[in-house]
């Protein structure tokens, strides 16, 4: 064979070889690229899922461990009594002044029998109020004892089952979140937002109760003082009711836990468990409103509607819907 032809054949062979090597290489690289890309996507989703778990599972959900403690105890009276005495010190001079003025009015000024009778009735109210104010730490102590004992009794009647149900609801929400996230990285975001907000709200409510009990406990002398006078009677009554409601809120919560614990077993099996658990979680949050009448029923229903209507509109639901098609 001619030398030139040999070179030409060799050149062609090299070129062909390089082209095919390139083609195969591109194919292999493409496959590896796709596999790696999917792997990285999965890693990114895994990162979202684990971060979500850190926030709800390892952080917020730990509040469930403290439920029995938070629901069966009240702040110690020793922390509230300085505040009570602070208000007693402010109110006492007004009381003494009011009693003195009224006594002088009865003795000297009033000649009308009706007015005298009214003044005497007010005087007796003031004296009763004065006694109540001086024993307000004991009144609060009695309210605390009743509330704590009732909550403890209810908790022993199956409160822990209720807590397990709530934890189950939380786990259910997280399960839906990670499954949706695996389908699409932003698929479960709305569900996560609802989940985290519910748990955050629950934590804040439980801790807020302790602060509110202290606040309205300190205001108890003011409540009795205002209750003694006709124009401010309603405010005094409302303040006392607030102290009463915030003290007895754990009783409503533990009762709700018992109801949840009992009710969960009697649910028909054809209803998916997840929906029952979610219902129980909402019932627990709304239970003080339902049982003690704190807040507004309507407000709670609006809140519930807002949460529920947000779920079907979530990206996750749309993604699933599209995938099923």
């Amino acid at each position: 064979m001619d030398k030139k032809i040999k070179i030409f054949v060799l050149l062609t062979a090299i070129l062909l070889l390089s082209t095919s090597v390139n083609a195969i290489g591109a194919l292999v690289i493409g496959i590896i690229d796709v596999a790696l890309a999917e792997g990285f996507k999965l890693l990114a989703k895994g990162w979202i899922v684990t971060s979500g778990w850190q926030v709800v599972g390892l952080f917020y959900e730990k509040i469930f461990d403290s439920f029995p403690l938070l629901l069966t105890t009240n702040p110690p009276l020793s922390e509230i009594t300085p505040g009570i005495f602070f208000f007693i010190k402010i109110i006492a001079p007004f009381y003494i002044l009011a009693i003195l003025v009224l006594a002088l009015y009865i003795l000297i000024a009033s000649s009308d029998v009706r007015r005298r009778a009214k003044a005497k009735s007010l005087l007796s109210n003031l004296i009763i109020g004065l006694v109540l104010i001086s024993i307000s730490p004991f009144v609060l102590g009695i309210l605390f004892i009743i509330s704590e004992n009732l909550a403890k009794v209810l908790m022993s009647m199956g409160g822990t089952t209720g807590i397990d149900v709530l934890e189950g609801a939380s786990s259910g929400l997280y399960n839906k979140f990670w499954k949706l996230t695996l389908i699409h990285r932003t698929g479960g975001i709305e569900l996560f937002a609802i989940h985290a907000t519910l748990l955050f709200g629950l934590t804040v409510l439980l801790l807020l109760r302790h602060a509110m009990v202290i606040l309205f406990g300190m205001l108890l002398p003011l409540a009795f003082f205002l209750y003694s006078f006709y124009p401010t009677k309603r405010i005094g009554k409302d303040l006392f009711i607030q102290a009463f409601l915030w003290t007895f809120m754990p009783v409503a919560w533990t009762l709700a836990l018992v109801i949840i614990g009992i009710g969960i077993g009697s649910m028909p099996s054809y209803i998916p468990e997840f929906y029952i658990l979610i219902g129980a979680l909402f019932f627990f949050i709304g239970s003080p409103m339902m049982i003690l009448g704190v807040g507004d029923w309507l407000a709670f229903l609006v809140f519930l509607f807002e949460v529920l209507q947000a779920a079907p509109l979530s990206i996750g639901a749309v993604v699933i819907d599209e995938t099923m098609k």
Binding site: F40, K41, W47, S51, G83
Partner: protein, 331 residues
């Protein structure tokens, strides 16, 4: 030799040209989802917010006692108050003259005369009160301020500051932790950072504005309160003035209550979240750790975050509770 060089050159060019057209999706995903975007979120969203919190963002946390104790100065409303008094004094004169004429000429029934005399007495008393209204406003504001100051002595101010600080920084830590892998994941805590930074100031500014308006309207409220047909309007003005004045005392009481609750409440488990382990890559993690510790962004426990949020919410809720509870208390 020349031929071999040409072949090599050709092959190299082909490979280079082909390499230029290679589109590596995996590289894109790696860079976008796992490296560049998380770094951008950390450095462009979380870190500047942290820097902002070190300055203006925690202004309320650092000055909460002074801000709550603040009352609009009476001197500031004196010009407006004087204008109103200039309008009211002729009205008073007219009313007193009208009652005088009524007593002298029109009224024949003893009951009407008694009522007119009573109204006259009230008008004269309120005239005195109105002329003293700047002093009276100052007195009420001083009582409220002193009461608030005394309420703050029930607990340590440092503790309240730490609780508020824990709440706002905790929210940022939680937001940072959640938003690094996906920005939407941390959007709620991130919004709450701004809510905690701004809303207490907004509520307190609202109080100052409303209180200024009510201070100006105070003499009018007294006048209307003394006229039987307009009593309800005067009563509302005076009641609102008292409620908005004493809101500061209840804000202080709410913060004191939260501080006391914080110091006595215990949780069975008090987990912590730290934003130093946000990145799955050790090198970036260390870099971030250095960066965030340099701006004091560390970890937050459930207790700190919970009570910090409760403290901020308490400031926001107090005016609502006060206005709901304290109404129609004047006779």
């Amino acid at each position: 030799m020349v031929l071999a060089l040409v072949i090599t050159l050709l092959m190299t060019t082909t490979v280079t040209v082909q390499a230029k057209h290679i589109h590596l999706e995996s590289l894109e995903v790696l860079l976008e989802s796992l490296i560049i975007k998380p770094i951008i979120r950390g450095l462009a969203i979380a870190a500047p917010t942290g820097v902002w919190l070190r300055g203006d963002g925690t202004s309320f946390v650092r000055n909460f006692d002074r801000v709550i104790l603040y009352n609009p100065p009476v001197e500031g409303i004196l010009p407006s108050l004087n204008i109103l008094l200039k309008i009211l004094f002729p009205v008073y004169s007219l009313l007193i003259v009208s009652i005088g004429f009524y007593l002298l000429l029109c009224s024949s029934s003893p009951e009407g005369r008694v009522r007119a005399k009573s109204l006259l007495g009230k008008l004269i008393i309120t005239l005195v009160v109105i002329s003293l209204s700047p002093k009276l406003i100052w007195l009420i504001l001083s009582i409220s301020r002193d009461l608030t100051d005394s309420i703050f002595t029930l607990t340590s101010l440092e503790l309240i500051g730490n609780i508020l600080d824990g709440g706002i920084w905790g929210m940022l830590i939680l937001a940072t932790w959640s938003m690094i892998p996906d920005v939407e994941l941390g959007i709620i805590p991130y919004i709450l950072v701004y809510v905690f930074a701004w809303l207490p100031y907004m509520i307190i500014s609202l109080r100052s504005i409303i209180l200024t308006a009510l201070m100006i309207l105070f003499p009018l409220g007294i006048l209307l309160y003394s006229i039987p047909g307009l009593k309800s309007i005067g009563k509302t003005i005076l009641e609102q003035f008292l409620v908005w004045t004493f809101i500061q005392a209840f804000m202080a009481l709410a913060l004191v209550s939260v501080a006391k609750a914080f110091s006595v409440t215990t949780l069975v488990s008090n987990p912590e979240i730290t934003c130093l382990n946000v990145f799955p890559i050790p090198g970036v993690n260390n870099l971030l750790a250095w960066f965030f510790t340099s701006i004091d962004l560390g970890s937050v426990s459930l207790m700190e975050l919970g009570f910090g949020s409760v403290a901020h919410f308490a400031i926001i809720l107090v005016p609502i509770v006060m206005i709901t509870l304290f109404k129609k208390f004047l006779p």
